[in-house]
Symmetry: C2
Subunit: 423 residues, 2 copies
C-alpha cells in the first residue's frame, strides 16, 4: 500500500510531562525526514485547536527550537481537557475535525496524550473511515501516571519517577536531621493508580531511609491504621516520611481529600478536583501524633522537572514519536504506539502497535501482589519494574545557570473555514 501524500498534524492533550515534547520532537523530525509528508502542522491546545482551526506550521519554526523541544517540559503546543462526546451524541464535532483536516490536506493525525486522548484519536479514526476520508490516526502515549493498559509503561512516567525518588531521598535526608520526632507528608499525583507514589520507594536504600510508609489509591485508606503506622515508625527512627497518592480513598470509597472539603470542584471530565488530602493528613497527625509535621506538595513540580528527566524515558519518548510516523507511513491507523519490554536480564524496550480502542478509557493499576500485604509499602517486583525506567541523566542546555527551554513562535495559519469558538 502506497503512503498517503499530504500533510500531518500533531496535537497534545491532557496534563503535561517532562518528555511529552520529546515525543512531539520525534514526530516532527521524523515527518521532516520521511519524504512522504509535506507540511507538519501543530494544533494549539489539542483537539480544541483543531476544532477552532488554530493551527501553526512546524516547517516555519526554527530547527534549533524544535531540537530543544526534546528536553523541554510541558506541552509546547498547548493542551486541553476538552472531551469529545460519542459520534452519535455530537457528530458535528467530528465533521468539523474532518473539514479542518481536509481544508489543510491533513492525512496524518498524531495525538499525544493519555487515556482520554487515545479515545479521541480512536473516534476521529472511526469517523474518518465512516465518511471515507483517507486518514492515518496514531496515538502517542504520555502520562506521568503510567496508567495506560497493554503498553509496558508510558512515556513521562520514568522521568516523574526519577524526580520523585530523587527528591524523596533529599527531603528524607532533610527530615531526619533533628533530635526530636518529625513527620513529613508528601502528596504525589495519582488519581486511581499509585505508580508515581510507588516509585518513591526507590529512594530507600537502608531500612531507616525515607520513605517509611506508602499509601496508594489501590488500597483502602484507614486513619486508624495510618496513625498506628506513623507512631510505630517514629518509635523506631524518630522521623517518619510518608508518601501517598492524591487519590487515596477510605474503604467507603470516599476520597480522603474530600473529607474536609465536601464541596470539591469538579473538572471538565467530571473527575473530582483533588489536592487537599495532605491537609487532612497533616491535621490528623498534628491532633493525634506529633506537633512537628511538614507537608510537601509536589503538585506540578513532579511532572515538569525536565532538568532531572530520565535519559531512558527521554529517549523512549522520542522513539515513540518517530515510530508513530513510521507506522503511519506504513499504512497503520487506529493504533497507539506502545512499548514492549524484552524478557531477560538486560532492560530493552521496543515499540509495538496497540489498538486505540483497547487503550481508550482503560486504566492500569498496580497489581495487588506488588503492594505489601500490610498495605503501607510496596514489594520488590515493582522496584525491579520501575528501576530501569529512571536510568540515565539528560544533558540539558543551560543559559546563565538555568535550563534553556524551547520557545515556539506558533504563528497561526490563515483560517480557511467558518469561525468556531470551542472552549
Amino acid at each position: 500500500m502506497a503512503a498517503l501524500k499530504g500533510n500531518c498534524l500533531i496535537a497534545q492533550s491532557g496534563g503535561p510531562t517532562a518528555v511529552i515534547n520529546a515525543s512531539a520532537c520525534g514526530v516532527i523530525q521524523e515527518a521532516f525526514k520521511s519524504g512522504e509528508i509535506d507540511k507538519v502542522f501543530g494544533a494549539l491546545h489539542g483537539v480544541v485547536g483543531i476544532l477552532n482551526e488554530n493551527l501553526f506550521i512546524f516547517n516555519d519554526e526554527s530547527p534549533e527550537e524544535i531540537e530543544l523541544m526534546k528536553f523541554t517540559p510541558a506541552s509546547a503546543l498547548g493542551s486541553c481537557r476538552y472531551k469529545l462526546k460519542s459520534i452519535e451524541a455530537n457528530e458535528k464535532d467530528y465533521k468539523r475535525i474532518i473539514d479542518v483536516f481536509e481544508a489543510h490536506n491533513i492525512r496524518y493525525f498524531f495525538y499525544i496524550g493519555g487515556n482520554d486522548s487515545m479515545d479521541t484519536a480512536s473516534k476521529v479514526n472511526q469517523y474518518a473511515e465512516r465518511v471515507g476520508y483517507q486518514l492515518k490516526s496514531i496515538g502517542v502515549p504520555k502520562t506521568v501516571d503510567n496508567d495506560l493498559p497493554i503498553t509496558d509503561h508510558t512515556p513521562g512516567f520514568g522521568s516523574a519517577a526519577k524526580f520523585i525518588a530523587t527528591s524523596i531521598k533529599e527531603v528524607g535526608l532533610d527530615a531526619r536531621v533533628y533530635n526530636y520526632p518529625t513527620v513529613t507528608i508528601c502528596e504525589l499525583m495519582g488519581r486511581n493508580a499509585g505508580w508515581i507514589t510507588a516509585s518513591s520507594a526507590l529512594a530507600k536504600k537502608y531500612e531507616d531511609d525515607a520513605p517509611h510508609l506508602i499509601y496508594l489509591p489501590e488500597v483502602p485508606f484507614s486513619f486508624e491504621k495510618f496513625g498506628n503506622d506513623v507512631k510505630s515508625v517514629l518509635d523506631k527512627y524518630n522521623y517518619a516520611v510518608i508518601a501517598f497518592s492524591e487519590g487515596i480513598k477510605t474503604k467507603e470509597g470516599r476520597y480522603v481529600s474530600e473529607i474536609e472539603d465536601p464541596n470539591a470542584v469538579k473538572d471538565a471530565f467530571g473527575h473530582v478536583q483533588l489536592g487537599g488530602a495532605s491537609e487532612v493528613l497533616e491535621r490528623y497527625v498534628l491532633e493525634n501524633i506529633c506537633k512537628k509535621v511538614r507537608t510537601v506538595n509536589y503538585s506540578t513540580i513532579q511532572r515538569s522537572a525536565a532538568h532531572w528527566a530520565s535519559l531512558t524515558d527521554n529517549e523512549e519518548s522520542f522513539m515513540c514519536g518517530r515510530a508513530a510516523v513510521e507506522y503511519a507511513i506504513e499504512g497503520h491507523t487506529g493504533k497507539m504506539v506502545g512499548m514492549s519490554r524484552s524478557k531477560g536480564e538486560e532492560y530493552k524496550c521496543e515499540t509495538q502497535l496497540i489498538d486505540l480502542e483497547d487503550v481508550a478509557n482503560q486504566e492500569k493499576k498496580i497489581p495487588i501482589e506488588w503492594i505489601s500485604k500490610s498495605g503501607d509499602f510496596v514489594e520488590q517486583p515493582i522496584l525491579d519494574y520501575i528501576r530501569p525506567l529512571i536510568t540515565g541523566e539528560v544533558k540539558i542546555r543551560t543559559e546563565n545557570g538555568l535550563p534553556r527551554y524551547a520557545r515556539l513562535q506558533k504563528k497561526l495559519v490563515e483560517k480557511k473555514l467558518e469561525k468556531w469558538d470551542v472552549k
Copy 2:
C-alpha cells in the same frame, strides 16, 4: 602566635541546605591537612550533641563518604533548634560545653549555621574567654534565607535560588498549556526576608513567562491588591503564576498564614510555625477569581535539591569551611567566615572575617529599592545580584539513576563525663 594543638569539633544547626555538608567537608578535609589538628570530632545534632556529649570522630569515617558529603544535602551531622540562653541566665550550659571540650581536648569549634547558631558560637567564645579556656570558635554561615548581615550572601542561598528559578520556569511552562485561565500559587521559604522568593524572577525571560507576581515579607500584603493583580495578569496572559514568601503579612502585621488558623503552633524559638499561607490564597482565588487554581508548596524540596545545586554555591560553601580552619589556625576566634564580592564586571568572591557579635540575631532583608514600587515584583539590581550565585551545575555521583549521597557511621565515642539529656 603559635597554633593551638588539640582537637576540633564541628557541629551543624538550624534548617539544612543543599550545601551545608560541603562546608562541613571543607572543614574536615582542611583540618586533616592542617597538621595542627589531631582528631576531628562531629557533634550529633548541634549544640545538643555537645551538651549530651554525643560525639563521633571523622577520622574513623571513610574518606570516600567524607568526599561525598561535598554533594550531599541536609545536615549529615544532625541539627537542632536548641537555643542557648544568655550566659547570665544559664551559665550551666556554657560550663558544660567547656567541660565537654576540655574532656576531649577540643580547642577548635566550628559551628555551621544561621543567625541563631552564630549567636551560640559567639557566646561560647565569650564564655571560654571568661573562664580562660583556650578555644578558637569560628562560625561558618549557612542559610537558604540569605538573611545574614554583612556577608555579601550566604552559602546555601545560591542553590535554593537556582532550584527555585529552574522549577518555577518548569512549573510556569506547565501552567500555561491550557486554553482556559489558570492560577498557580507557589509558596516559598522566607519568614522575614524574601530572597528565595525574589530569585524566582530569574525564571522570567519573556514578558509572558512565569512568575508574573511576587509577594515578599518586606512589603505589606493586601488581598484586594492581590485580587486585582491576578485578574490583570489573567486578562493579559490567560495564566498567572504567583510566587510568595511564607512570611507575608498584612499591613496590620498579621501573617497571612494565620488568618485561617489563628491557633498556629509555635516552634522552639518562639517563631510562628508557618506554612498555611498558600491555603489562604488558594481559597481567596477560588472564591473571587478563578476555579482553576493549583498550589505548589516547595517546602523542604527547595533547600534539599542537591541534584541541581549551584556549582558556585557548592564551591563557595566548601571554601568557607576550609577558610574557617585556616582562620582558626591563624589564631582568629569569635569570627564568622563571610563572603565579599569584588567590584567589577566579572563575579569574584573571597572570604572575609566578620565579628560573630555583629552577625548574631541580625537579619538582612531585601533593600526596598530592589523591590518594584508596586510591591508585586522585583527590580533588575536584585537579579544582577543573584544571577552569579546560581551559575554552574554540580556533577553528582549517581547509582541506579539516583544520587549517591553520603552516609556516615557516626559511631559515638565513649563518654567521659556525667550523663546529660538535653532535648
